[in-house]
Amino acid sequence: MNIEQESVNLKKGTKVTKVVLIGVSLVFVLIMLVIPMLVLIVYALKDGGTKYIEAITDPYTIKALRLTIVATVTAVAINTFFGLFAAWAVSKFHFRGKQLLLTIIDIPFAVSPVIAGLIFILTFGRIGWAHDFLNAHNIKVVFAVPGVIIATIFVTFPFISREIIPVLNAQGRDEEEAAALMGASGFHIFRKITLPHMKWALLYGIVLCSARAMGEFGAVSVLSGHLRGKTNTLPLHVEIIYNEFKLSAAFAVSSILVVLAVIILILRNIVEYKAKKGGR
């Protein structure tokens, strides 16, 4: 009887814990994540549907969206290119200084976005050592589109290599060695053996990289110079209209980014699910 009582108490105890913990989690997610999203939607539609359409079809908004897409696609393309080669070098070969290289690749994670912008100002800006060269060739980086793109690349630099490297490390190099032993070329090995292993990790990295690239604010803000219709990305455009106290317009434009973010989240979950299923 006593033992039974105790086990019942124990069960009751764990059940109470469970309910409390789930409750705490729900409240946290609700207050910290869900309600801010709701606020955004409500504020975006506050002034009515026509105002909303007006805000998101504003020519400056369209131009900002276009620049955001260009910067994102460029950053993803370059970082994918880098990620594939870096992952191949790091996971398939032993060499001295590998750990150092990995640490350096991760630097952009540790650096504040504002500092990321700063380093490019110091490199390409008026006091930068590359300034004379750029001037001589009539290339503008700072306060121009190339600056926005470079900042985006820097901030998202490690995203893809970071996702692939652990997967390739876990796979080992036996299969590649076996294929090389039979005389397969590097590209052939990559396409037939390595790529199938890491395709989900690669996609996952691309999704994360896109998310960060399109949302980048600090670094881009430093380098863009906020030229409306020229160097403004969507997040910068949001800031400008927000600071002009056009709240609902700012939220309306934000909603474009939220839709993109939600699409990315859904993609991310699909990719993760497929990777778990495919990864066995």
Partner: protein
């Protein structure tokens, strides 16, 4: 010699993986590279394949020096320890891979692959993926994949390590039969002496980067030429002071000895009818059941020996006083071994005559 290694040296960081390795292998032989882990056997195999490059020394295959020939051009088939089957290709594509690289035509590839699938007895499973196969089946596919491009030499790295003990026995004889049927010169690496003795035509024993001994399994077992081999092969007991045992005299320079279980007889008190004066008194320290016999540990004059005892005989208990008759032992110094017989037994014989 078909494969020959001449004075091979290889160092990883501070670790000497190959230390003046020399040996030659005749065509058509099945060779077992046997040694404890870290003895450098896998390194030797990988150097022959071209997966590693020696620091110095020459490797010859079929009379050609292959040091500067890339792995893929050496005509070598390699079976990896974990098989390294391509996880995203089915059985057919795995076996066909090497042939596709060689740009063989489709029909030729298909014929060869099906020939091999038939050889390994996996008909009907050609569209399975590696994760849908059992360990033994995977090994067969790895074997077929290595053989597909018709290599002149087959190398196998611990081919049975990833397989359940139950299936291992069956696969050993299967592999031996396959290799003799294909007639390909083969070298396999193992740390399991039973495996080497059972499968190989010849065994090369490695230790700390050196080749200790090479010879037929019987030779290796019966005539170990180095102290390491004497201790490594068989369930040997090391004796630090063999002269304290009855019937063994000091041999110049040799202070230690090893005793194989079959060199010892353990007898209950009163069981021994002959040679009683040549036997030691011992105390049973432990008994373990080993399937078809008992493994008995006895303490004799402060030293521990391992022996076996038939299950048919009257049972003995731990702590029991027994007679221990040591027929013979291998005495050794730093470099050679010498088989010594129990002199006390000979003396007794002469008295009887």
């Amino acid at each position: 010699m078909y494969v020959e290694l001449k004075d091979i040296n290889k160092t990883f960081h501070n670790y000497k993986a190959s230390d003046h390795v020399n040996f030659g292998i005749e065509q058509g032989k099945l060779i077992g590279l046997l040694g404890p882990s870290g003895s450098g056997k896998t390194t030797i195999l990988r150097m022959i394949a071209g997966l590693e490059q020696p620091d110095s020394g020459d490797i010859f295959i079929n009379g050609n020096r292959v040091n500067d020939i890339p792995a893929s051009k050496r005509g070598v088939g390699f079976v990896f320890q974990n098989y390294a089957l391509f996880r995203y290709m089915d059985v057919f594509d795995n076996i066909a891979f090497g042939l596709e690289i060689q740009k063989k035509n489709k029909k030729e590839i298909k014929d060869r692959v099906f020939e091999l699938i038939k050889l390994i007895g996996l008909e009907g499973l050609e569209h399975r993926y590696p994760n849908q196969l059992s360990g033994g089946q995977r090994q067969r596919v790895a074997f077929a994949r290595a053989l597909a491009p018709k290599p002149q030499l087959l190398l196998l790295d611990e081919p049975f390590a990833a397989i359940d003990a139950k299936v291992r026995q069956e696969l050993r004889s299967w592999l031996k039969e396959m290799i003799s049927r294909v007639g390909i010169t083969s070298i396999f690496v193992t740390h399991d002496q039973d495996e080497a003795i059972e499968v190989a035509d010849e065994i090369i024993i490695t230790n700390q980067g050196r080749v200790e001994q090479m010879g037929s399994p019987v030779d290796i077992y019966k005539k170990p030429t180095t102290p390491f081999v004497a201790q490594f092969i068989g369930q040997s007991s090391l004796v630090n002071d063999y002269t304290s045992l009855i019937g063994f005299e000091q041999v110049e320079g040799m202070h230690q000895a090893v005793i194989r279980p079959e060199f010892i007889r353990i007898a209950k008190q009163g069981e021994l009818k002959q040679y009683l004066s040549a036997a030691e008194e011992g105390i049973v320290a432990g008994i373990a059941f080993r399937g078809d016999n008992l493994e008995v540990k006895v303490q004799v004059k402060g030293q521990s020996f391992t022996a076996t005892r038939s299950l048919e005989k009257e049972s003995i208990q731990v702590g029991e006083k027994v007679n221990v008759l040591v027929y013979r032992l291998y005495a050794f110094d730093d470099s050679k071994t010498l088989l010594l017989d129990n002199k006390a037994m000979e003396d007794r014989n002469s008295v009887y005559i």
